[in-house]
């Protein structure tokens, strides 16, 4: 057991500041354990979201020492002994209180995406899909909707005025997953990504990929293929070339 100094943001939309808490850490502990310990012993009203505490639900997103991370998957032993650890809410979203932010932007974007329009099933009422045809989409389906990619994306983070016309990395892979879905029959997804989702604003700095706790290749496997699809839509020659070559393989 060692005493650790945690600098945790306390406040609401009216204002706030970091407050220091000295708290005991133990073997194998993660940042969320210490936040819980602060709640139980020093600050019962310290607000944070969490559910599974296993990196599966994506609720406990925060900025730890400035880096977007899940508190439940950030082990205390990655920090130097004696180091003060700073925990702040995701900066991109409006603050509700302490570490809790209003992430409704993401739920609005989710709703704007046209749903799957499946083709008719086989005569026996079921579908056939080959594993190799769904591998890449299954990668996108690993997304736990922690919104860390949305938090770090500079288009959303620094351009309030673009929020209306930009869906963000989480939803680019959502659309990409639908576009690549073997059962989907919609033809208008590239147009949606260009016009409503604003993928053109992404300049592929890969910040989203770097912070993804599920290690999804958001940029390489999701965003870049969508950008290419957009181009294909405009350029019939390129479209034919790509069709003949076949779709690119996932990079991992």
């Amino acid at each position: 057991m060692a005493t650790v100094t945690m600098r945790v943001f306390r406040g609401d939309p009216k204002g706030g500041d970091f407050r220091e808490y000295k708290v005991e850490s133990g073997v194998g502990m993660v940042v969320l354990d210490l936040i819980h310990r602060i709640q139980a012993t020093q600050a019962p009203d310290l607000a944070c979201r969490w559910n599974c505490k296993a990196g599966k639900c994506g609720s406990c997103s925060a900025e730890i020492d400035g880096k977007p991370r899940l508190m439940c998957m950030t082990r205390m032993d990655i920090f130097k002994p004696g180091e003060t650890i700073t925990v702040a809410p995701m900066r991109t979203f409006p603050l509700i209180k302490d570490l809790v932010t209003d992430v409704s932007y993401n739920y609005e974007k989710a709703r704007s995406i046209p749903p799957l329009r499946p083709k008719p099933p086989e005569p026996d009422g079921t579908y056939r899909m080959m594993q190799e045809d769904i591998d890449r989409i299954q990668e996108f389906h690993k997304c736990i909707e922690c919104f860390l990619c949305q938090d770090v994306c500079h288009v959303i983070r620094d351009h309030e005025e673009l929020k209306g016309s930009f869906a963000g990395p989480r939803f680019f892979i959502k659309v990409a997953g639908l576009d690549m879905h073997p059962l989907d029959t919609r033809e208008d997804r590239p147009e949606f990504v260009r016009k409503q989702a604003g993928v053109g604003l992404c300049n592929i700095t890969k910040c989203c990929t770097e912070v993804c706790p599920e290690h999804i290749h958001i940029t390489d496997n999701g965003i870049i293929p969508m950008k290419e699809r957009m181009v294909d839509e405009f350029d019939p020659v390129l479209w034919v070339v790509r069709k003949l070559r076949g779709a690119g393989k996932p990079s991992a």
Binding site: D12, G26, V27, G28, M29, V30, D33, Q39, A40, T41, P44, D45, L46, A47, C48, R49, W50, N51, C52, K53, A54, G55, K56, C57, G58, S59, M73, R75, I96, K97, D98, V100, D102, V103, Y107, A110, R111, I113, P115, L116, P118, P121, G125, T126, Y127, R128, M129, M130, Q131, I134, I137, Q138, H141, K142, C143, I144, E145, L178, H181, L183
Partner: protein, 601 residues
């Protein structure tokens, strides 16, 4: 409402409390009836406990073993539940699960595939054939995301981070809504509705070592009981045999049964595959009694099943015994070894999230070394007594589906049968709540005085002087349930637990929290104590009542299964502020189904 600063009101034909698999599926079906639907969740949408389900969804699709069918699934489910299941629920579940899984695929779910492009199925405990449709070991995530993205395009109003404290009833006792608060503002809200579906999940947060999140505080069980509805089978709590045991901060975190389904075995510290020493008479004819046959079974189902995949109650008890006898692992569990039995690539492909979880949180590479595992509180078999076909509870206007409903799983649930339960009975709940709402006559009337009382009561923890810390009280309750109402129970300890719970109830009335109403977890924890204490007491009293051992209820002082107890449910009712218990006969199973169940392997 001067005291409470007012409340907002929403009105729907049907409200659904809980937005995990059952709640989402119920909302989709209710919306399909053309009624107005409100879906209310305690967390953000998509974060409910379903997201943590790992191994798969059980459905007799027959894709891997064409000889599988609903009859075999029904038989396995009834035998796994030690015959205490509501037979009609088990039948509907086995019959309808395949259609519900295929429906998810139509809505975009991508399950792992067989070589010919069908849905792949994996082995799990207590299932005769490989039956679990899955996506690696993150099946629950795929299911909840599919349902969530389907639901948001239906006509459903979603209310997030809203906790409901009480159901509202009219003068005729009909459930006509619910009262609660927004977690982010602390302001009160009233939902008026012609029908209410409970889909609130489990009660695992009443125990210390648990695979359940903060949400599993028995809300729906308590809401129903407080409204006068019957609960059944409350003594049956499932301890999953394999939770993480080390480091302490992750103790209880689930390790999917899929590890054993895919070839992993349990070993004690001597390296012995001890499960061969724990095959009960009831499962002898279908369980391999030697290593060679057990290992052949994975590929050839003409062999008997490995005892590593006995139902969960059997495996959890066996691990408990090994550890108590001093044959456990260094941190008080046993070893679960897949590293020496399957290639690293296979393990990473089949169990990616287990690989990730052990690597990141325990520093263990499961492709190279064994895991340390031990029992963790996982699932509540007992719950709201419902009509099998309609999911209607015993008070009018109330329906229940998923973990909060009782009966489907009898005394012990088979792995994989929960995700299928959610979608089969979630759909039925939405359908029948919708039909009930269409036929609803009269006005939706709720008493203003009642709302005033509820609001005042809810605010008390914020205004008391001095008093108890809600977190500390919750932790003491968890310790009590863990040490006195755990896997192995005995009369004196259960009585001690009842005494302590009475003291906790008294102390809960003195809880004090700092801060205001805006997103205040201390206040939320204080308010959750009433449901936690209610379910803790229901479980303990029912456990004291049932003087036999069966499924998820093991009595040290009554170690045998008693045929007389096999004919009755323990029914729990709240009357005049106290718990009343009664033993009531199980529904009579038709002869043709009885024949299926009695069939030897």
């Amino acid at each position: 409402m001067a005291t409470a600063g007012g409340y907002e009101t929403h009105e729907h034909d049907v409200i659904i409390i809980g937005a995990g698999g059952a709640g989402l599926r119920a909302a989709i079906e209710a919306a399909a009836q053309g009624v107005s639907v409100g879906l209310i969740c305690k967390s953000l949408l998509g974060k409910a406990h379903t997201v943590m389900a790992e191994g798969g969804v059980a459905a007799a699709l027959g894709n891997v073993y064409p000889e599988d069918n609903w009859q075999v699934h029904f038989r396995d489910t009834m035998r796994g539940g030690k015959m205490l299941n509501n037979w009609r629920m088990a039948q509907l579940h086995a019959q309808e699960a395949p259609d519900r899984v295929l429906e998810l695929e139509r809505w975009g779910a991508l399950f792992d595939r067989t070589k010919d492009g069908r849905i792949l199925q994996r082995d799990f405990g207590g299932h005769r054939y490989a039956r679990l449709a899955h996506v690696g070991d993150r099946t629950g995530l795929e299911m909840i995301r599919t349902l969530q993205y389907h639901a948001i395009h239906q006509s459903i109003d979603v209310y997030m981070e809203c906790k409901l404290e009480r159901l509202l009833q009219d003068d005729n006792g009909r459930v006509v809504g619910a009262f609660g608060y927004w977690r982010n503002t602390g302001q009160f809200v009233v939902f008026k509705a012609k029908a209410v579906v409970l889909a609130t999940g489990g009660i695992g947060k009443a125990w210390r070592i648990t695979s359940n999140s903060w949400e599993s505080t028995g809300d729906g069980h308590s809401l129903a009981a407080w409204a006068g509805a019957d609960l059944i089978d409350m003594e049956f709590v499932q301890f999953h045999p394999t939770g993480m045991v080390w480091p302490p901060s992750v103790a209880g975190l689930l390790v999917t049964e899929g590890v054993r389904g895919d070839g992993g075995t349990l070993k004690n510290k001597a390296g012995e595959r001890f499960m061969f020493n724990y095959i009960p008479e009831f499962f002898k004819s279908e369980t391999a009694d030697n290593i060679e046959e057990a290992d052949r079974w994975y590929e050839d189902k003409s062999n008997r099943r490995t005892p590593d995949l006995l139902p969960r109650d059997e495996v959890a008890r066996a691990i408990n015994t090994e550890v108590k006898a001093g044959r456990g692992s260094p941190h008080g569990g046993v070893f679960l070894d897949i590293a020496s039995r399957r290639p690293a690539d296979y393990i990473r492909k089949r169990l990616p999230s287990m690989y990730h979880q052990f690597k990141e949180l325990a520093g263990v590479d499961i492709t190279k070394e064994p895991m340390e595992v031990g029992p963790t509180c996982h699932y509540m078999m007992g719950g709201v007594r419902v009509d099998a076909d309609t999911t209607a509870a015993t008070v009018p206007g109330l329906f229940a589906a998923g973990e909060v409903a009782g009966g489907m799983h009898g005394s012990n649930r088979l792995g994989g049968n929960s995700l299928s339960d959610l979608i089969v009975f979630g759909r039925r709940a939405g359908l029948h709540a919708g039909l009930y709402a269409k036929n609803f006559g009269g006005q939706l009337s709720v008493s203003a005085g009642r709302l005033e009382d509820l609001a005042r009561e809810a605010l008390e923890p914020l205004t008391r002087t001095g008093g108890e810390n809600p977190y500390a009280l919750q932790a003491e309750l968890q310790d009590t349930m863990h040490t006195l109402v755990g896997i192995i129970r005995t009369e004196s300890e259960l009585k001690e637990a009842i005494t302590r719970i009475a003291v906790f109830k008294d102390r809960a009335r003195k809880v004090r929290v700092e801060g205001g109403r805006t997103y205040n977890p201390g206040w939320h924890t204080a308010l959750d104590l009433s449901s936690l204490l209610t379910v803790a007491e229901c479980v303990t009293r029912a456990a004291l009542e049932r003087t036999e051992s069966r499924g998820g209820h093991t009595r040290d002082d009554h170690p045998y299964t008693d045929d007389q107890w096999g004919k009755v449910n323990v029914v729990v009712r709240l009357r005049d502020g106290g718990i009343r218990l009664s033993r009531e006969p199980l529904p009579e199973m038709p002869a043709e189904l009885r024949a299926l169940v009695q069939e030897r392997k």
